[in-house]
Structure formats: structure tokens, C-alpha cells
Amino acid sequence: MNIISRGIRNAFRNTVRSGSIIIILALSIGLVIAMLAARQAVQDKITSVKANTGNTITISPAGVRGFDGGGNPLTSDQLAKVAKINHVTKVVETLNDRLTSSSTSLKSGIDPGSLGKRNASNSGISEGPVMFRLDDSGSDGATAHTFTMPVTITGTNDESAIKTAGTTSLTWKGGKMFDTTADTNVAVVGTQIADKNNLSVGSIFTAYNTTFTVVGIYDAGNTFNNDRVYIPLPTLQKLSNQSSDITGATVMIDSSDNLTNVTNTIKSQLGSAADVTNSADVVAAITAPLESVASIALFSLIGAIIAGAIIILLTMIMVVRERRREIGVMKAIGASNLVIMWQFIVEAITLTLLALIVGTGIGVIAATPLTNALVSNDSTNSTDSGPSTTQMRGARRMMRFAGPGQLGQASQRAIETIQASVGGATLAKGAALALIIAILGSAAPSLMISKIKPADAMRNE
């Protein structure tokens, strides 16, 4: 029999009361663990979002967007310098070109429709020299009577060029991506253009008077992106006589936290030669509600710790008051304040550890539902709260209008797919916090113990 065993045994002197206290305390500790897990899950998600969403910077030649505008292309040398900037993980370079009827055997898989015809007409294409691929049904061969949409061919140095072209998912329907660094006459094509031209892996087509072999067919999840042809960058640069030219680049960085800094560095390096844009505002709008949820989880965590400490504090105060004479007797027979305090602290820790065991179960069960409730509640409040309130509304609006692109859907996934789990680290933190609860809850009763006089052993008789 020593301090520890006496403290443990004292915890069970009144089993009904101890059981009730353990259950109440377990609810508090369960909430602590659930909030720890929720906070961890949200913070992990924030890190993940920052690492995977909106961590790209787009570089275009100044004055150029796709095939609109004008100006001079970027060069491989310029982008090689960009690749050396801190936090840059990859620079995806692309060179876009449009194939005319005279330069490819392919036909676009997209029907022009009224929009395509209007765009062509506004560009003077229907009347002027053939730029788009034409179905020449006229007698002079120079005037467009009917036409198909142009075929866009892209030279790239990385597979992710297909994803960064506004694609959320990329599925290979056959074959695989080519070696992007080699100057070879191979291509991957989208399903739309493949179906139109009856292409399969191993098929051939011509472009720039060169025969290309299809090595892969992808599905990018939307019609526009599935109507494209990708070939190695060096091959397109050579065949289109645009040696070292780049018409667009996507710079990937390690975390969106560094987005602004890296963007500014690129701008200062490239100067007026390039338009450099990023999606910092969108990222901020996406992560802000998650940060808000993390804050709510933190406050709830602190609240649960305080509640737990108060529960154990009141319990121990009650116990000390009840055992006032017993404490006096112990002092009368030679126990020091420290010995008695430790005995009560052990008793508090015993109750808390038992509550921790029950609370862990509660925390494991409640972590995910509570996290989802926090997230969805925050989302609902934000959506319902009118046009000038929280950042969450901004994030959801971003998601809504970001369209089918990578950023919009990734943002939505970020908000909606948070899975909280109680791991070893969370349990260790929970146990440490439970210990803090026990010690905080024992502090005031310990002070009370020190004030009890041994003479109380006689006075209370």
C-alpha cells in the first residue's frame, strides 16, 4: 500500500459517483479527441489543398492568350531560368499550333455549330484565304463554303500539360504518354478526335508532311480537351520551324503559400516579355473556410479541456470537503501535505485515465461526424449569410464559377471530403491533455488540502 495504490483505490470508494464522473468526463475528453482529430484533418486538408490546388503560375507571352492576341513567343532559355527559382517544382512548357487542311490528315472531332461559324466569320475566315481546315466544295478552291474546326496540336515536355489544360481527371483509354524529351514522331490524342478519325493505339496520321504514330488515347473528361493532339515539344518546335519557342508555360510550386513570392520573382525575371498570372485569391478563398473550421475546432478543443478540468476540479473539491476529517487524521498520524496531495492527484488521474479510455471510444466514433458537421455547418452558414459576409461564400462562389477546371472541382473536393481519423499522435495528444485536465483539476483541491489543519481530525468529531 502506497500513495499510488491508495489514490487508485480511493477513486472507487463511491462507485456510482465515480462511474457518473467518468462518463461525464469521458464526454469531455471524447470531445477533446474528436476536436484534435478534426483540427488535424482540416489542417492536413489545408496543407494538401495548398500543395495540390492553385499552386500553379501561368506564363504566357505578353499579349497572347491561346491563339488570340499577338506578340513574341517565350524561349526555352527564359523558362530554364524560371525552373531554377526556389519553390518551383516543375515548369510545364507547351507550344501550340493549329493544323490546316493542307498540313494534317486529321479532322477535328468538334462540329463548328453556330458559334464556330460566327467565330470564323468574325475572323474573316469564311471569305479569306484558308486558314482553318476547309471542305472545299467551291470551284475556286479559295472560298470557304463549309469548314471544320481546326485541329490544335500541342508540343509539351510533360504529361501534366494535358491536366493543366483545364482538365480535372485524365484517363488513359489505351497506350500511354510518350517520352516528352525525345524528338520522335509519336502522339497522344483525345477520345473526341480519335473517334472522329477512327484512331487507335498504333494508328498513323500525317501532320507537317510527317507520319505520326498514335501511342496513347486519353479521356480528359470534356469535349474541348479531348479534341487535341499532343506530341513531344522538340518535335513540334522542329516541324513547325519554331525552334526554342514556347507559347505557354505552367509553373508548379511546392505550396500555394509561396505563390505570391514566386510569381513576383518570375515577373521580375521575365519583365515585359510575359504575362504572369496566378490564382492566389482563389486559393485564399478556398483555404479561408478551412482555416475557419480549424479555428472552431481549436476553440472547441480548449472549451472541452476547460470543461473537463472544471468537472474534475468540482469532483475533487467535493471529495476533499467530504474527507476533511480523514485528511486531518492523516496529517495527525504524520502525513505531509505533499503525500496527501499526491494521493488526491493520483485519484484525479485515475478518474481521468478511465475517462480517457471511454472518451477515446467516443472520440473515435464522433471525430468524422463532428468534423463533417463543422464543415457543412460552416458551409451552410456561409451560403445563407448574404452576399457580404464570410469568406466561405467567396470560396463556394469560386467553386461554382471556376467551371469544370481543376481548380474549381479540387476546391469543392477540398471542402467536402475531409476524413477525420484518430491516430496514435492524436491519442498521445489526447492523453497528454487528459493529464493536464487532471493536474489542473487537482490544483485547487490540493490547495484546500494544504489548508486543512490536523486538529480538524478532532474538531469534527
Binding site: 500500500m1 502506497n2 491508495r6 483505490r9 480511493n10 470508494r13 476529517r325 480523514e326 487524521v329 492523516m330 496529517k331 495527525a332 498520524i333 504524520g334 502525513a335 505531509s336 503525500v339 489543519k453 490536523p454 486538529a455 481530525a457 478532532m458 474538531r459 468529531e461
Partner: protein
């Protein structure tokens, strides 16, 4: 030898000052068995508390073996109570969730006596007071009043104290058990050569002690 010199104890009660003990002086020799008698409120328990270093006098001194316990530090007082004094309370004051053996072992634990040694000593003391046949493993709630008081006496003797202070040790017992407890206390104090001060209002018991001090309104009114 226990030497009490001009002990006064006053309490504040609202704006009034109550004098519980008024300049008491007396001496008790080593191994002597004395009683203190008096009516309720005479100051018997207050005196016992001061003798046992549970409380401090407002003025005066208490010397036990040339040590003035009124001048001891808190730390030394704890040690003094643990090793030099044994208490026997009217309501036994055993720790309810400890067995009889564990209750007797408790003062020895505070004195850092090795575990096995204190268990052996506790069992031996319980045998001396007649708590055997498995009753030593019972908790106080499963023992009779007389048995609990015997355990209390065993606990008081645990650390070989110089002085045993008993506050109405037979007060909660019937006369037969009361006599048995008194005799036990008397016998053990003789065998252990321990000084015993018993507070009682039972004049029969007081008459069997070596000397009796009578208290009234905080003053010593007679010594026999």
C-alpha cells in the same frame, strides 16, 4: 518527561476572544498513565490537540524530552507527530477503505519503514490487541466499535511513540468494551514504556490512572 508551562489558547469568535485554556502548567513523567477529566467545553480536547502538536498554543511551551514542540517548524512537527505521538480518537478515525492492517501500516509508511517490516509490525500489533483470524484483513466497516478502537490503538503504537494521546477512547463503546480498551491501553503502555494521556469524563476510568488532572473553563482545578 512532558512539561507543560503556562499554556494559553484563545480563539476568535466574531469580535470576541474565547479563552479555551488559561495558563495551564503540569508535568507528566515518562511511562506515566494520566487522565484529564472535565465537563464538555472545559478544554480537554483542545489541550490534547496542543499536546499532540495538532494545534499551537497562543502562548506557553510544551517540552517533550527537552524539545519545545511549540517552536518546531512545520516539517519537524509532521515528523514529530509521526514518530513521537500516537493518537487514539473517540470515533476511531480509521481510513474506511483500508483494511485493519493497512490502517496500522499507514504511520509507518509515512515514516518510510520498509514495506515488509511495516506489515510484520502491523500484524504483530494487531495480534497484541486481539485482531486476528482474518479480521486484520477487514475494512473498518466490517469491524465492531471495540475492534475498530483496538485497531486504532495498534495504529497509535505503530512507530513506538513516546506519548499516546487518547481522546475519549471509550466514549463510543459500551462499558464492557470500554473497560477492555482501557485495560489494553494500560497494558500496552506499560509493555512499551509509553506515556499515556487520556481525556475522559468517565471517573471510573480516570480513577484507575496514575494521576488525574481536572479541567474547568480552561483552568486546571485539581491534580490527584
Amino acid at each position: 518527561m512532558l512539561v507543560v508551562k503556562d499554556i494559553t489558547k484563545q480563539f476568535k469568535q466574531g469580535d470576541d476572544t474565547v479563552t479555551a485554556l488559561n495558563k495551564l502548567s503540569f508535568t507528566v513523567n515518562d511511562g506515566e498513565f494520566v487522565s484529564i477529566v472535565g465537563k464538555s467545553g472545559a478544554g480537554k480536547s483542545t489541550l490534547l490537540g496542543i499536546l499532540g502538536a495538532l494545534d499551537t498554543p497562543t502562548s506557553g511551551s510544551i517540552e517533550i524530552g527537552n524539545t519545545d514542540i511549540a517552536k518546531l517548524s512545520d516539517r519537524k512537527l509532521i515528523s514529530y507527530r509521526n514518530t513521537s505521538i500516537g493518537f487514539v480518537f473517540q470515533s476511531y478515525n480509521l481510513i474506511p477503505n483500508l483494511t485493519a492492517v493497512e490502517n496500522v501500516m499507514l504511520p509507518m509508511e509515512f515514516a518510510h519503514v520498509p514495506s515488509q517490516e511495516r506489515r510484520d509490525r502491523a500484524i504483530q500489533l494487531l495480534e497484541e490487541v486481539g485482531i486476528t483470524d482474518g479480521r486484520e484483513r477487514r475494512k473498518p466497516g466490517k469491524l465492531s466499535g471495540g475492534e475498530q478502537q483496538r485497531v486504532s490503538i495498534a495504529r497509535a503504537l505503530a512507530n513506538h511513540p513516546k506519548l499516546i494521546l487518547a481522546d475519549e477512547p471509550t466514549g463510543n463503546l459500551d462499558s464492557e468494551n470500554g473497560k477492555m480498551i482501557f485495560n489494553l491501553l494500560h497494558t500496552l503502555s506499560r509493555s512499551e514504556n509509553t506515556t499515556v494521556v487520556v481525556v475522559t469524563h468517565d471517573l471510573d476510568i480516570a480513577g484507575k490512572t496514575d494521576r488525574t488532572f481536572a479541567l474547568s473553563d480552561g483552568k486546571l482545578v485539581s491534580k490527584k
